[in-house]
């Protein structure tokens, strides 16, 4: 059975990773810069619970007064529910809410990011994923 022999050297720790990891249908680092986060303020356009990733669309007023759309990838429904991003009358977000978003930057330079944290004008904080900035 030598053709099935596996000499694999795996350094594995099964317990240490935050739940946010290893969950994207694409490779996270193929789309986002895990070492570069940014903060941006705007108003919520919509929150969509969809597969493979939910999305928050943000209206951001540019310096020239025009409104730009920014798209932020989020996790699965279970993560959003645990974070509290459900119905507005249960403390979730609604269109028009002023928020500040911290996200990992898109590597292609587009108006998008991987959402890490949302802070509302009244001080509520939704933490969706760890910093992801502890690269070695």
């Amino acid at each position: 059975m030598s053709r099935f022999r596996i000499a694999a050297l795996l350094t594995i720790s099964f317990t240490a990773l935050a739940a946010a990891g290893v969950s994207a249908h694409h490779s996270i680092q193929a789309q986002f810069d895990i070492n570069k986060s940014f903060t941006i303020a705007g108003s919520v356009a919509k929150v969509e619970w969809i597969n493979p990733h939910s999305y928050l669309t943000l209206n951001v007023k540019a310096d020239d007064g025009k409104v730009e759309k920014w798209a932020f990838e989020m996790g699965a429904a279970g993560q959003l529910r645990r974070t509290g991003l459900s119905r507005a009358d249960r403390g979730g977000l609604k269109a028009g809410d002023a928020v500040t978003i911290k996200a990992l930057a898109a590597r292609d330079g587009s108006n998008s990011g991987l959402l890490q944290e949302i802070t509302t004008a009244d001080g509520r904080v939704f933490k969706l994923r760890p910093d992801g900035t502890e690269a070695q």
Binding site: M1, R3, F4, R5, I6, A7, A8, L9, L10, T11, I12, S13, F14, T15, A16, L17, A18, A19, A20, G21, V22, S23, A24, H25, H26, S27, I28, Q29, A30, Q31, I34, E48, W49, I50, N51, P52, H53, S54, Y55, A71, E73, A76, A77, G78, R82, A106, R107, D108, S110, S112, P130, G132, T133, E134, A135, Q136
Partner: protein, 313 residues
């Protein structure tokens, strides 16, 4: 020789989170540190005809890994503990060395470790030589080429174990919710007659994602024989494992207590040198008698146009 032959040396520095997501409706997922098959418990109910009754919601904590039905097990790696993994086909242990740090790994390291682990299983389809180059290119360019990466159905056998089975005297109903997480698929359903009818001649069928499935019982095992597939599905997320329109799939479902064991054997006279049988998967019955299958989220893929490298799971 095997396409993408068995790993010789895989060095992975990483962490793997084995957590099962959204597996019991409305209940928080539990963290798992093993993907070893669950042990059956309880009695096996019988239907009126004497066969096991497979009816139920089969989405409880079974072989899910990160919300995806055990794709590591599909290639045949069982994670036995924090420090032990094994290749199921050969039975050989995979050397595992504990990390020398307790620092939480970042996502880049974790994803790469998980991907390498998934690729270390030796249970793989064996392709005819004329397809090696194509399969290799599919794997290399999987972000663009994987037909299930963009909200299309996973197909059979990639769909694995249905999350709901309804068993009736002359047919069974299978429902496969659309998935997010590691893959992006839309819902599939199958209505499979078990009334003794024969297949439609293959050349009369339009290719479809689940094919024409016909069921029959072999003892206590439900056997679903399918052909008439579209070639626009793969066997797994990794490997670029494509197939042709003459693919023939035989699935076996066996219920023991609260477990359901599934395997699929794939024959493809155009693509494969020999039949390929998936590593068995085991699902658990939802423990709640009143469980219902929740609606799948609609699938709308928005990321692939922003991918800048070829890295994939």
């Amino acid at each position: 020789m095997r396409v993408l032959a068995c790993s010789r040396i895989i060095a992975a520095a990483g962490a793997l989170c084995l957590c099962s997501a959204a597996v019991v409706a409305q209940e928080a997922p539990r963290l798992r540190t093993t993907n070893a098959p669950p042990k059956p418990s309880g009695v096996t109910p019988r239907a009126a005809g004497g066969h096991p009754d497979l009816t139920g919601v089969w989405n409880a904590l079974g072989d899910n890994l990160n919300g995806v039905p055990n794709q590591i097990a599909n290639n045949g790696v069982v994670i036995e503990s924090d420090t032990s993994a094994r290749d199921l086909k050969s039975g050989l242990a995979i050397a595992v060395f504990p990390r020398n740090t307790n620092r939480v790994l970042n996502e880049e390291q974790a994803e790469r470790a998980a991907s390498l682990l998934r690729r270390s299983g030796s249970n793989r389809p064996v392709y005819k030589p004329e397809h090696w180059e194509m399969i290799k290119n599919f794997d290399h360019n999987s972000n663009e080429e994987d037909p299930s990466n963009n909200c299309m159905p996973a197909g059979i056998p990639r769909g694995g174990i249905p999350s709901y089975i309804g068993q009736f005297p002359n047919y069974v109903i299978f429902i496969y919710p659309g998935q997010g997480g590691l893959i992006a698929t839309q819902t599939m359903y199958r209505m499979i007659p078990t009334d003794g009818r024969r297949h439609t001649p293959l050349q009369e069928l339009d290719g479809s994602y689940t094919g024409e499935g016909i069921g029959h019982w072999e003892g206590d095992t439900l056997v679903v024989d399918s052909w008439g597939f579209t070639p626009n599905t793969w066997f797994d997320q990794i490997g670029g494992y494509a197939h042709g329109e003459n693919m023939h799939v035989v699935e076996r479902f066996r219920r023991e207590g609260n477990t359901l064991t599934w395997t699929a054997t794939v024959e493809d006279p155009d693509y494969l040198l020999e039949p390929w049988t998936t590593t068995p998967r085991v699902a658990l019955l939802n423990p709640r008698a009143d469980a219902v299958l929740p609606e799948s989220l609609p699938c709308s893929e928005r990321d692939l146009s922003h991918i800048v490298t070829k890295e994939h799971h």
